[in-house]
Symmetry: none
Subunit: 217 residues, 4 copies
DNA sequence: CATGAATGAGCCTTCATTCAT
DNA sequence: TATGAATGAAGGCTCATTCAT
């Protein structure tokens, strides 16, 4: 599984090339925003940790908020885009192996696990700041609605036909699945990151819980 | 189910009687903290919305942070304390009706549902600020460890014996259950409060998901 | 001729009573604005000279600009309002003494002379900042059009009838008169305040110049 | 009457040749200084409007102030130098036609009218900034004292001898004349540039006013 | 108990200026 | 010559907190 270097990604996302100072600014901002929250972070502290004069921040980002947005936006796309990566969902209808819900979910969780692991601070920021910045909310909702939702629905319906999902409304299936997966990630990386997790095992339990939970009773 | 008037509760929690001004301060603070976050809220705005002079806040709370803590602390106790209300858990071993996991969970979810419904803004504050204030984290953890955890464990083990819960580690059972229940509350009251929910039905789906999910597969 | 204490006047203009600190702020602001111009004056310098914390300024005036406006606005009214004080103009048509243009002009110039003398710094500010702040321009224009212009016109027409003013358009008469009077004030108080002026004499010369200048040739 | 292209003039004044970029800088600076005042103008805005990098300005002018001075200085000379152009004054004593005050004044006003018309923004800058920059004041005073004053005095005395000017001190004559002429220019080009002026007529009125005003009464 | 004027540290942002390229 | 990234001092303004009334 390839490494997700967010800074590099952000740099590519920006139309212009980044100076090393700008990269430092972003690195520092991500760290401190995650530690103490956007509102409680001062630009002078960012400048300090980035080893840069305070004015330099504002040469690259017109406002502190623009810095936040430009950090968070590319991540949102990345967050939603591969959520049900095309390959998986398309293959569901072709590849016998992926046609099994369990297999698909396992792939999905592992991919997400890797993604979250590489980006904990950034995801913390998104989780926190989404509540207060409509722009972020909107961006997220959009990405979700266009990229995740239709594929997810299609898959749920397929598995319903195959009898692997019982008599639940599709939205409820989504809610339950996402709750469970997100709950694992949050427990694993945010609430108790220092606990001695047996990730393989825990993923299997989670999978079993979802699989059995969604079957008719 | 009786009404949870937090303000009244907070007033009772405070050792001294509360003046009406103080009650206004708390009401205003809860509203604005929930809307824009603790760090982004100014005491002058609170004073404004409370219809009180700026100085009055500091007559009752030495610092802005103390105001936050004094709002959040009693809630934490309330949040954890009745989570597995004694009556339930004790009765599990006596009352034939409660001895059924499904029945117990249903009672629990409904009680929590009511509780969350009455306290959305306050819970938003806790969710947000826990991340940045170790005091809150500690308070929460403590309440959880002493009140919820042991009873929860006991119940899980009972249901395992009865064959209603399959071969999962107890901690994993807790994680999965809490994820699912909290996921419902968050979707219901925070992410999509304006959606046209059929709460009874949705609770039943959620129950079924947990019940089936935890059985051996 | 009574003394024009602008600060006192500003205080009365403000709806609320002024604290002594606020009076100091205004005094200091007038001084420094006049010395170096609004844009080149820093609020910290004003605070300094006023013997006040910088924050105090913003407790009374939301912005630096509001401070400027609230200094300048009452003056504008005062500047225009008595320009052709009612008593004069009304009396022109009644009082035999005032019916003479020379007498009227002499009274007018002396009154204005006193007024300017008492308010040089404030008038400097208005002269300078009018160019850049449309609000001030607008306020001035309004005061001029409603208070000065109609009376001035009436008087000019009267003196034309009496043969004391020759065949000039009324607007031109106003332009020439105002130029000459303002020119005296500016030379006297702004350009060469340190010159050894014989004010009585100079006013007489100025009067003669206008009187003769406006007569038919 | 030949055109006054200030930019070209400034370029000639500068010892070195000007690059086109430098010309753009000056053009932009004049525009913006006139619009919002020197202190309220940022070098970055000048660079922007000039289509030049921020640093480029400082390649040509060590400081922002130097830019101002180098714009204003040549103008001051031009402003004063031809005020009583040699040809006129010298001819006053020779040429019968020019020996008439009226004729001389008419020539003078028309020449100044043209000059002001071509240089409104620059003159606005001088008028504004003279108040705050002693260098400019000094430059102006000097030019006035050496070029204008002696010739003006000489002429006034001549016309007194000829009986065209009455019993006024020479300085007073100057003050009254300059007030009236400058008052016209300022009304015409700064206060009411959009009014529908009949310039020929207005100049004649102004001349008549001065001529009659200065005669003995 | 309540007020609100006053404070001064600190915040985000702008700006003139420098310098390596 | 021209660039534009970088600087850091300074600017206007906000804010939690204090205190005399």
């Amino acid at each position: 599984m390839e490494r997700h270097d967010m800074i590099k990604e952000l740099m590519e996302a920006a139309d212009q090339k980044m100076t090393p100072k700008q990269a430092n600014i972003i690195r520092a901002a991500i760290e401190i925003f995650a530690e103490k929250g956007y509102a409680a972070t001062s630009t002078s502290e960012i400048a300090n940790r980035a080893g840069v004069a305070e004015g330099t921040i504002f040469r690259h980002y017109k406002t502190k908020k623009e810095l936040l947005i430009s950090i968070v936006t590319p991540m949102i796309t990345r967050f939603a885009a591969p959520f049900f990566a095309e390959k998986f969902v398309n293959n569901v209808f072709v590849d016998e192996n992926l046609a099994d819900m369990d297999t698909l979910l396992r792939e999905l969780i592992k991919e997400r696990y890797e993604f979250v692991k590489q980006n904990v601070p950034l995801l913390k920021i998104i989780l926190q700041e989404m509540a207060f910045h409509p722009e972020i909310q909107r961006g997220y909702r959009e990405a979700f609605v266009t990229n995740v939702l239709p594929r997810f629905k299609k898959a749920v319906e397929l598995f319903k036909e195959k009898g692997q999902i019982g008599d639940f409304p599709t939205e409820t299936v989504m809610r339950l699945t996402i709750s469970t997966v997100a709950g694992f990630m949050i427990a694993r990386f945010i609430i108790m990151p220092d606990f001695d997790w047996d990730d393989e095992q825990e993923i299997e339990y989670t999978l079993r819980f979802i699989r059995n939970g969604l079957i008719d009773g």
